[in-house]
Symmetry: C2
Subunit: 349 residues, 2 copies
């Protein structure tokens, strides 16, 4: 038996208390750091913008692009602007199963947000738009979108406003005739290339350990461990590859899809592209229901469980689903200040 | 013959020059002041808001109302919010001949701006809405508007979002169950009661003589002298009375109206109300084409000439029409900062 002096007897319980408090804290911090490092390798924080060599971002283009984003007078029924299907108030998605264009024409698929969209390998669920610029250009004459009869008809409307002449000239100073649909597309593209939404997840990656809750961190770990990052990688948490929807089982077994969509097969006509879709960006997923290419699932918890089931062949338990959903909430970002203000469109006379 | 000393001979031309310069300036300033006083009696500057005893404006109501203004999930097809027909980017009108509601339903009449609207004796072209609150309440179940089947169905949607519960409770703290359509209408109303748009005309009335151009001042004089102010009076330059559209000749003789609208007769069923409409507010008229209850006229110059012809029995010469149009441009106001920023709507989960 060791006889402790009175002094030591008194100190010992305090030492234990301090050890009990400090050791887990250090361990926790170490866990955080390990998680941060793993996540940084596969995901990483958002950049400040999504530049393009073909279409450099300039303040003049962004200014014009933001105005054009709200312009409905270049649609065949006067009701469609980019902001119709991408209202900023709803995180630039529309909350519908499938987007609705001019004269109530239903689009073939669900409307993805334009936030962080310019980062992707292609646009639209089946990758039939090469870039945000290409998307904007094709949308104005798209039968279920703006529905204009020709590019010339769009240019004619825009040229009807003196203020547009001035704005296009400022944005494209070396062009003899700057008011063109190509420049319309570049301006919209430049605006959209600024639409990044830094989130608590980015703050965590940059070293603010408490930017994410314990549940969100656990969810991030689960998201990595369960293999979600196999497809949903990059700072955008998706948008970098195509993948079959329904690897283990046909997707329609679990979604409430009204009909089966053959996906990218419509673009390539290659059998191997049947049911192949672009992996969506998961940034702001919590703010942009409903889910999947046909908006057939309303709840994020259901969407996460279905993904586990048909993409990973795993029946994820409720707690893991909930943790992943918590992590997805940490991807809800700040809308850029510039996108939170509404421009005034050129007037009629 | 008067012999002038040499000194006086030299000074005289300078005196004349000074007189030639100064006298008209003084006379002009006196004209400005006279015009300012005349205009102040009949028109007057905008107040800072349009309060209501029944629905006092509070910051909490305005905050909620602004969010609800962008809410499409309370429409039967998920596409209609107040901002659909009143996009701020287009000065809170929609640029269409007639407004388009859910499932592309055409409204019977042209869409008036919600800016400065709460000031009127009633809402809608035929005065079948008593206030902005009444308008908002009826719109959610309006067959060509939001088209919801019942008030209960609207309340059910709103109660599905926890954040709305919090926002309604903050705005209506003494209500046991604050999430109601009546409170929805009050919140929208409170927001709209803040939407005043002070313009160069107001600055002129408050004493900044050069806030308006010479042409705009001339136009203001013409507007008063020709009798436009007989109907278009008050700081809102309209909205305070009903009047027959087509006093001297049937309006359809000059507009491109597809069919004749019997106006307020639809509300009162009184013969004397045939072709009677509410006199519209002319604030921001230059920013909100097309014109008249059926949006049948595209250009402001045409609209002004037609008004002279059929309301005053005068074939206004082109120069006077142009002057009046110039004055109307001086009514294009600043959109309130608060209305220029977009709120974020409550999320799904």
């Amino acid at each position: 038996m060791i006889i402790m002096p009175v002094e030591e007897k008194r100190i010992w319980p305090f030492t234990l208390l301090i050890l009990l408090l400090v050791v887990p804290l250090v361990a926790f911090a170490a866990d955080d750091e390990a998680l941060r490092q793993r996540a940084s390798q596969i995901l990483g924080p958002l950049p400040s913008a999504m530049p393009s060599e073909e279409n450099p971002i300039t303040p003049e283009k962004v200014r014009l692009g933001k105005i054009l984003f709200y312009e409905p007078r270049i649609s065949v029924d006067g009701t469609v602007s980019c902001s119709k299907c991408h209202p900023i108030a709803l995180y630039a998605a529309d909350g519908l199963r499938k987007a609705v264009g001019h004269n109530c024409k239903e689009n073939p698929r669900n409307d993805p947000t334009v936030f962080n969209a310019a980062s992707q390998i292609s646009e639209h669920w089946i990758g039939n738009r090469t870039s945000v610029e290409d998307q904007a250009k094709q949308a104005v004459i798209g039968p279920p979108a703006f529905g204009m009869p020709s590019y010339e008809s769009v240019e004619k409307v825009l040229r009807g406003y003196k203020q547009y002449e001035t704005l296009f000239r400022a944005a494209f100073p070396s062009d003899k005739e700057p008011v063109t649909v190509d420049n319309f597309a570049k301006a919209i593209g430049a605006f959209e290339r600024t639409l990044v939404t830094p989130a608590p997840f980015d703050a965590f990656l940059k070293g603010t350990a408490d930017a994410m809750t314990a549940e969100q961190k656990k969810g991030l770990g689960t998201f990595i461990d369960q293999g979600c990052i196999g497809c949903h990688f990059s700072p955008y948490v998706g948008g970098q590859m195509y993948q079959k929807f329904g690897i283990f089982e046909p997707y329609e077994k679990y979604t409430k899809s009204e009909k089966v969509d053959e996906g990218r097969y419509a673009v390539t006509k290659s059998e191997s592209d049947k049911y192949i879709f672009k992996v969506p960006v998961l940034r702001n997923a919590a703010m942009t229901p409903p889910y999947f290419h046909d908006g057939s699932v309303d709840k994020l918890t259901d969407a996460v469980w279905i993904m586990g089931k048909i993409q990973l062949g795993k029946d994820l338990p409720g707690e893991q689903v909930q943790d992943i959903v918590s992590f997805l909430h940490a991807l809800t970002g700040e809308i850029p200040e510039e996108a939170r203000t509404i421009p005034v469109l050129p007037s009629g006379e």
